[in-house]
Amino acid sequence: MKKKIAVYKVSFFIILLVALVTALYLGAYDFNHSVFEIVRTYFKTQTHTADSFVLIELRIPRILMAILTGAALSICGTSLQGLFKNPLASPDLIGITSGAVLFAALTIVFGSSVMHLLPPFLRYILLSIMAFIGALLTMWFVYKMATSNGKTHILILLLSGVAITALTGAVTGFLTYISTEEELRNITFWSLGSLAGSNWWKVCLVFIVVALGSIRLLTKGKILNALMLGEKEAAHLGFDIEKTKREIIIIASLMVGCVVAFNGTIGFVGLVVPYILRFVFNSNYNILLPLSMILGAVVLLIADTISRTIVIPAELPIGILTAIMGAPVFISILINYKRKLK
């Protein structure tokens, strides 16, 4: 088994590398020189040519953002699924993403007077903190709704998610109705999702959050494995369940909120990636957590590269692609469920 995991890890990494190199070279803009050469000349001269600008200021931050976002959404999905003991508990389905979107949209519409006063980095921090609060509130609400006597009712969990998403949709719709044009455009972006606005500031901020969050989440494999036995049983094994729950909920909200604040709603990644991995490794979270990060990065990087290149010179919203990839998997989960019910 160990060997098998190592093989998977290595092969995922190789795929990620190949995807990364391909993504570097693909795009609306064709480079005159090799990527290596462009970077070298830039560091020598310290001034941008058109080549180096596209590469260093547009394409590389975007690729890094895709990798970080994919990894973050997947590991959050995996942890939440472990916590709720259900494969359907992904950030977008239970409404956390919508909560983050709502708060981000509110910040943009009502905070615009303050936002303009802030330098970019602080503006980004404010936006992600608000999205985090939104994610945390919905998460808390959904969790309280769905849990009684230490048992989570998956039906209530999903329906609360539906309710939150509907409410968020309504409020966001209302904001679009009352807001002025520039702000409105910012809101429509949330529902489609796009990595086009990535820059180094955003990448830095997301990197810090995702790195710290993932390091914490990666240590939760054992507890999540124990949780599969049931909460009481896990507690008898000596794990502090309540603390773990709080920790996972807060970290996942923070990561999802931060990612959503900059890239809008990118659905299905947190659902599909853990599900595919569970096919291969069953539900061993020690393996699922790290592998889901790598596979999530691969999936989102490929999706983003396709979204950038399929309709050159325009761009397809990435949410469309992840939904096309994700919806069939979602349906297959439902079919599996149905079989189990018989």
């Binding site: 058109a50 596209v54 330098p119 309709v311």
Partner: protein, 287 residues
């Protein structure tokens, strides 16, 4: 107390940082204006701007355009699609010497990226009025150091001066259609509202602002004498017959008399150098 103080100082620091940025921006302005803008490779991100460029004899220098740039038709430029989905990379791929667009079309992200890429960017505030159109033409021409723009302005003024006021202002309702399920009417603040008023008529939907969904009840209360549409819009709902089938339309004066006027979308709502001609044509069609 300490906390409040820290917060206040932080806010002060932030505010002062920002002030610096602002002053920089102000000093940048005149500098870029004095530098000569090369016009050998132009990207135009607005139909009215493209028309203006063509009227200033710059048509062959346009290398990229957006989806609204439908006139002149024989432009050899790459179509970059809808202005809101255009990315910095596809703009840079055309190696433009200057990008011209309107400030309300271009999203802030793209704006930042282009600025950082050191591309000369001309942003124009487009206003849907005669004055606004003249300003648009004048500012493009002066930015590009062209001095042959006066005839364009005169042409607009003289054409519009020929429009005689109606004895009784007809009530016109503009309907924007993309298929029968998606119908909007144009209220105040839209280019269509200004066009209707310039043509000497009254906007039946003047009680509304911006584009609002069309409802049968609203149709009856506004009761327009003429329905105005884009040519493509009327096609999309199946011509006049399709329009009359829409609930409420046939009970209006316009529906009863089958008084439906169509014009090309960009010509009617573009507010470019052809504004005078468009106003005259609209006026004659609703007579």
């Amino acid at each position: 107390m300490k906390k409040i103080l820290t917060v206040l100082t932080l806010a002060l620091v932030v505010a002062s940082c920002n002030k610096k940025e602002n002053t920089n921006a102000i000093t940048d302005g005149p500098l870029t204006e004095t530098t000569v803008i090369k016009t050998d490779r132009i990207i135009s991100l607005n139909g009215a701007i493209t028309e203006t460029l063509a009227a200033l004899n710059e048509a062959e220098n346009i290398v990229g355009k957006d989806v609204t740039s439908t006139f002149p038709e024989n432009l050899m430029a790459t179509d970059l699609g809808h202005v809101r989905s255009i990315t910095a990379e596809s703009i840079l791929a055309l190696q433009p010497s200057v990008v011209i667009g309107t400030s309300k079309d271009i999203n802030p992200n793209l704006n930042d990226q282009l600025k950082k890429a050191n591309i000369s960017l001309i942003m124009i505030d487009q206003e849907y009025s005669v004055e606004g159109t003249k300003n648009l033409i004048t500012s493009i021409a002066t930015k590009l150091k062209k001095d042959n723009y006066q005839p364009l302005l005169d042409n607009i003024s003289t054409k519009i001066a020929t429009v005689k006021p109606f004895d009784k202002k007809p009530k016109i309702l503009f309907i924007y259609a993309r298929g029968a399920g998606n119908l909007m009417v144009a209220g105040t603040g839209t280019p269509l509202h200004s066009m209707i008023e310039l043509a000497g008529a009254e906007n039946a939907a003047a009680a509304l602002t911006d584009f609002k969904p069309l409802t049968p009840e609203a149709l009856l209360t506004t009761n327009p004498d003429v329905i105005l549409m884009f040519e493509k819009g009327l096609q999309s709902i199946g011509g006049i017959d399709g329009l009359l089938k829409i609930e409420g339309i046939s009970t209006t004066n316009a529906g009863k008399n089958k008084k439906v006027v169509t014009m090309d979308g960009q010509f009617l709502s573009g507010f470019g150098p052809r504004l005078g001609d468009a106003v005259v044509e609209l006026h004659n069609k609703i007579k």
